[in-house]
Symmetry: D3
Subunit: 320 residues, 6 copies
Amino acid sequence: SGADVELAYAGLDTFLKSEPRGVGDVGDVDAAVFGVPYDNAVSNRPGARYGPGAIREASEWWAYISTYKGQLTNMWNGEQVDFDDISVADVGDVPLFPMDVETTAESITAHAATIAEQTFPVMLGGDHYCTFPAFRGFAEGTDHDSVGFVQIDAHTDTVSESPVFGADFHGSSTARIADLPKADYDSVSQVGIRGYESAEYFEFAEDSGIDLYTMRDVEDRGIVSVVRDAVESAAEDTDAVYVTFDIDGVDPSVAPGTGTPVPGGLTARQALLTMSVLGSHDAVGAVDMMEVAPRYDSTEGTERLAAYLLVKLLERKFMV
Amino acid sequence: SGADVELAYAGLDTFLKSEPRGVGDVGDVDAAVFGVPYDNAVSNRPGARYGPGAIREASEWWAYISTYKGQLTNMWNGEQVDFDDISVADVGDVPLFPMDVETTAESITAHAATIAEQTFPVMLGGDHYCTFPAFRGFAEGTDHDSVGFVQIDAHTDTVSESPVFGADFHGSSTARIADLPKADYDSVSQVGIRGYESAEYFEFAEDSGIDLYTMRDVEDRGIVSVVRDAVESAAEDTDAVYVTFDIDGVDPSVAPGTGTPVPGGLTARQALLTMSVLGSHDAVGAVDMMEVAPRYDSTEGTERLAAYLLVKLLERKFMV
Amino acid sequence: SGADVELAYAGLDTFLKSEPRGVGDVGDVDAAVFGVPYDNAVSNRPGARYGPGAIREASEWWAYISTYKGQLTNMWNGEQVDFDDISVADVGDVPLFPMDVETTAESITAHAATIAEQTFPVMLGGDHYCTFPAFRGFAEGTDHDSVGFVQIDAHTDTVSESPVFGADFHGSSTARIADLPKADYDSVSQVGIRGYESAEYFEFAEDSGIDLYTMRDVEDRGIVSVVRDAVESAAEDTDAVYVTFDIDGVDPSVAPGTGTPVPGGLTARQALLTMSVLGSHDAVGAVDMMEVAPRYDSTEGTERLAAYLLVKLLERKFMV
Amino acid sequence: SGADVELAYAGLDTFLKSEPRGVGDVGDVDAAVFGVPYDNAVSNRPGARYGPGAIREASEWWAYISTYKGQLTNMWNGEQVDFDDISVADVGDVPLFPMDVETTAESITAHAATIAEQTFPVMLGGDHYCTFPAFRGFAEGTDHDSVGFVQIDAHTDTVSESPVFGADFHGSSTARIADLPKADYDSVSQVGIRGYESAEYFEFAEDSGIDLYTMRDVEDRGIVSVVRDAVESAAEDTDAVYVTFDIDGVDPSVAPGTGTPVPGGLTARQALLTMSVLGSHDAVGAVDMMEVAPRYDSTEGTERLAAYLLVKLLERKFMV
Amino acid sequence: SGADVELAYAGLDTFLKSEPRGVGDVGDVDAAVFGVPYDNAVSNRPGARYGPGAIREASEWWAYISTYKGQLTNMWNGEQVDFDDISVADVGDVPLFPMDVETTAESITAHAATIAEQTFPVMLGGDHYCTFPAFRGFAEGTDHDSVGFVQIDAHTDTVSESPVFGADFHGSSTARIADLPKADYDSVSQVGIRGYESAEYFEFAEDSGIDLYTMRDVEDRGIVSVVRDAVESAAEDTDAVYVTFDIDGVDPSVAPGTGTPVPGGLTARQALLTMSVLGSHDAVGAVDMMEVAPRYDSTEGTERLAAYLLVKLLERKFMV
Amino acid sequence: SGADVELAYAGLDTFLKSEPRGVGDVGDVDAAVFGVPYDNAVSNRPGARYGPGAIREASEWWAYISTYKGQLTNMWNGEQVDFDDISVADVGDVPLFPMDVETTAESITAHAATIAEQTFPVMLGGDHYCTFPAFRGFAEGTDHDSVGFVQIDAHTDTVSESPVFGADFHGSSTARIADLPKADYDSVSQVGIRGYESAEYFEFAEDSGIDLYTMRDVEDRGIVSVVRDAVESAAEDTDAVYVTFDIDGVDPSVAPGTGTPVPGGLTARQALLTMSVLGSHDAVGAVDMMEVAPRYDSTEGTERLAAYLLVKLLERKFMV
């Protein structure tokens, strides 16, 4: 009946209107969502602390249409998509200590690990630094010996040490990940990179084994082919792949709600295809959506796209 | 420990970070909050459908400071306030049918009644039409023979029948309430009225028994004295008083996030004192906060004040 | 002289600064514009009630440049365009009854029919539900036995009955149209569809005869070819074609000012080419521009594009 | 019937939904409104070119309520107000030449004079420079030998010659007026002045005969008493009084939509009382509302107040 | 000549268009301004990192009018104000390390001390935590044995240790100051406090010697009297007084551009009078303006008022 | 050390955090930047007066990353870019006289000439009229006999005389330039033109020798090829080329912060490639960035792209 269908803008806000759960109680669901409303590690505009709430709210449109329409048709390929095929839980936000990045990172790692022991983790950021402790938690919580990393991003985040920020900030997360025992630059793939990066970055990528796909590669080869190679390379010689999507990988005209935009990025369609390819690859074992700072986008388009991108990966992974 | 204190902007959004509950399961709490994200009955700017979510989010600041500071001091009068003295539950939003005002009203009435049977109801609007079905539910759910009505508002909402909107819209709610068997204009008090109203309104108020306090009365006599008289009059010869606060009772410079603003209203301090007086009166048995349309106020001030006003009434009623 | 050229932002706002006229007095003009500032039938964000006013204001740029520059050159193809070749009247907005969808629909139908009896109707929305009564009015006001329908849109609007909204809301308008005696799904063409639709929609389209062109088709075949086929198919076996343009057919990065955006839509150029093709087809007998909700786009880009799209169709139809 | 009542946000935008008229055809109405969307003479933030349109739109709320409620009660004093007692026409906007201030001023003067010959002129600005040519037109169009001037404003606008702007800009309009043969500083009253003005301004005011009422005077003596004295003084020894209301006379927290705000101004209530007093004085023969720059106030509060202030003056003058 | 007068919105942005200088080169000016664009120590909304830039820009209006008008009249009291009587330098922003609060505090202290050795320091914040290191620097840079503290604020900032933030964040700055050897709660005066504070705060204030003036005191006694007492008390038994103005001391309707607003604060006029009284007291030796987060106030009113408040204090101190 | 790296949002705002200099003291730098915060010559939305300040602020991101990362890699082509290879000075804003276009133009010309005598000039607009006096200054300040002109723009700006604006406004600048002794339409190339232009514009371009590249040409031939031809043609038979970039050449979805947007323009990537090609051509001797009106783009994307486009041209010219 109508009373069973809640409007997208009504009700308590959880990701896809999923059930609120304790972090230790997600063993029976396909995916568990957690938020990290932290943005003290940014080098430019703040506001990603409002990302998790905004993505949750935006996600509810898909909960609404799947409840009221039942099974759905994916209008890109005609496939049938059944939202009843996926069970999701939302464990809320991780405890954070804005003045203490180390304790914050430990909290994120602990929660990510606890979830990863039980199910597929989905993290809502928060600034991109948080991907490092989340990856660490994923690696610890699962029994994988090695974990690959696919990074959709405008920036490489490979700064070792910043004179202003030190070793731990949103420009160093991939470097921190590569330092971990279960990770290696050789299993890192980067897609959407543009603008300026550190000196001799092409050489660094080649030497360290990073699979680097700049926006020019996307332009030249097409997004589907690029992402297929990216995930394949990250999955090679690893037990699982962690996917991180920095929303600034998308063009600022499409997703302006982020702290460090770089003109010349992915279109919405390219971003959606990226998630389709990634969701179709068996190795993908975790995903995050980072750097959504909704207050720079009064149209609400950034969080809507961010939610849709997660839905798209989950669709491919669990619903078809 | 720090992990027990959730930042105001973190976590799932419920009123005062209270526990989500089913509507039938609030018998053991002091107050139960429900939302009505409906604004199809407005005659001017839409957007009150976003009121409940915004008020919930804004309310979390008080949950945060009371958790991290423990007991609090009310800095107006020095009294100690203990948020642990109140238990609140949030039952989420009522099912709504935007194209069908009658079914929507029945849904609101049913939920309000179910809650009123068990505890003190707090409604988050939504447009002011919803106060009619909520009042009806309160009257039905309790065993009161007669219920008084204190209305803080710029407008009187006493239109019987509009040529455009008919009998049911946000300009007619007080008229609909007065038609109910347990209510009467004689037990209605209105505070903050200004601008233009129907012809001969002063005479109508006098004849029908409405206690009318315009902004000029507030100016001349002081808000505390006016509200004391207003609630006293509504409580006289009734078993309980329902308080409705239309946020447009407050001046648009203070609370611009509403659909039908009228210059010349209450200051924030006057509004807070209003709620202090009302919260101190034993007869008050229900409260709502209506017409908060947050998207017209990019500063977030409207929903912050709306939440604070409810906190203030609850403080006086339950926490001192 | 200069006094004869009114700045785009000056003067009373009518579409293309055309003459205000009564609805019964448009027999001598090429096109008559009417507005339907109604958005109570939406399932998501309100605000299309502000569409007609915003489109009118935005349209005045073209009135300004054609007055001060005289004849113009279309810079896409070099053709000469003469705004003096078209006479337009603006009959203002149709009476609406926000709480009463049926009476509202009758009012729209009556006005659309009155105009269609006399000239080419241009409707400014308003939510997409209003297209149903406008189409009905067009069919009634003209003597056509059957009317085709070209729908530019992100959504199919083919819900028969929603558990929340019933049979009449902005997601059901195409279904309601197909029910009309002079219409049939077989003469419906849909362009720009994306996201998720009802189960087995491709099969439904095929079975019912809908000409379905998703964004993937646009991507694969090019917009000009797709729209040519779309209008050709709608014109086949009908006496005239009604064109509806839901602004959410355009990508949200280009036209965020709408209630139900779906990432991955038309570019501005594709949208303009769409209108060029449609305006060049003799069968097109009416057009509307729907779901413009300007307050979600503080850049004013959505209404500017909406106005330009109508200008483009009228250019092809009347000015070259 | 309902079809006769147009919603506030519907229909073509004229002041109070009045009839559009030619400037020479207003002899039979009580008041004629004209706009001057010009802001090239400002020394700070532009945007008053959007004032006339915004004030018109905002004014329509009062047209709506008076149409649907019929006669109204003024809720400040209980008096009956009949909008049918006033006939208004809107002649649209005056031709303007943004690069040519002299021709622009002549155009304003000519239109103001033409209207003043026939009826009570109401000008919608536009920056405050435009008050000079409008006053000149009023003086010329009527047969008055001398005209007084009441200026509600944060600034005195008495700069004779600016090194950057010359003699003609929005800081010099009162000086230009005082130069006119039919005007004199001795018949100028200024209310709401604050911040910093030219050296020895108190002495200048005293010497030149300006009746100066700063915000401190308003604070000390009350707005009603101050405005009564102000208009009385301007009316003394003159044949009529021209009232100019610079919206920056109001506090920026109440009316932020203006180019040159100065903290510490009038409240909405003080502003409304100002207009009540002025509207009650027989000598008042013209009014303008200037410096409304709506795009700095996303709440729409500035234009709403501006419209209400004009309504209030007209109420006192024509409707009671 | 005109070329010597720069428009308020033109030119490089420094406070009052003063000369950029090195921090060690301000011995010959009356006051030196420095910025601390740091907001990592906030407990709620970020954005005070944009405070210094916004206050500088807003301040230029006063530079413009004093250049083009020459000597000015203070329109509140008629006194002559000569901006040529004050020489100001702007040393830009202090080096900051967002991830390292200790090093950041040391940097602020070092710069504040260097300036205080030479002249009157004016700090532009930044979040309120920065007042602690700035006060420390002022105490160290001067040879005062003890320094008083006048705090205009909604909050007391006297948290010793937060479970989430630890000992160093914007809620603990006054506690940190009171710990310093040259300071003591006994020389602290707080004005504008409201909302909720820690348990038994009135007793704590009394016991520790804090002069506490809540908004109720301001209401009851008048702002001038309260501030006179506040500064007198802070100056008693100290060698100098440091004034901190948290912009959230002002009401959110007036100054919404701040991170932690509390309804019910100072009006603009009360705030200006506060600065007049403080600027007139000889003991005042330093001032800061904190928590201006301009992006929450699209009207630009918050930074305008913040700049004006500093101008007002400097006017009283140096220009009359 | 960290103290040497200033955050992008910290410090005094100059282009690329370059040294402020007097206009006569730029002989030893590679490029000198000056601003023209003037927008009184626009025919539509004002606000380009805020362009120079916004572009300066946005440019500081590149100063920050080049300081903290040292040498950089251009991620499009892998080349090394060294910001130490370029020395830039910022001379602030030119004196402007908003009411006097002729004196304003002379001021711009004088400053542009003074700079051009010494180094490579970079102008930050301001409306596009200012390009005429800047071009004139460049031609006068250098000893070139003839100067070519490459114009990236949505509009041709070739109006000879407007009935409203006369001969000098932002729609006539290219016509005014072509009138100059050292310039000729034959050396003008226009890229990105779209929408409607004057009658028979294609013929006019052909007859006058303008190299016209509409958006359709860009679409058909690719941006790189088009811009190569454009600059080659402008450089042929001239001594140097002046490049003007009207930000409305870019699509409004990417750069909405401008006064006269036209849908269907360049993508960010096309714009960046345009500047790469132009920066690589030896003949280019001056550049400007015009019509940036930041307040129409709350995302800050327009000024960010504008700054990046200038950085890109300077990179190709001076840093590789």
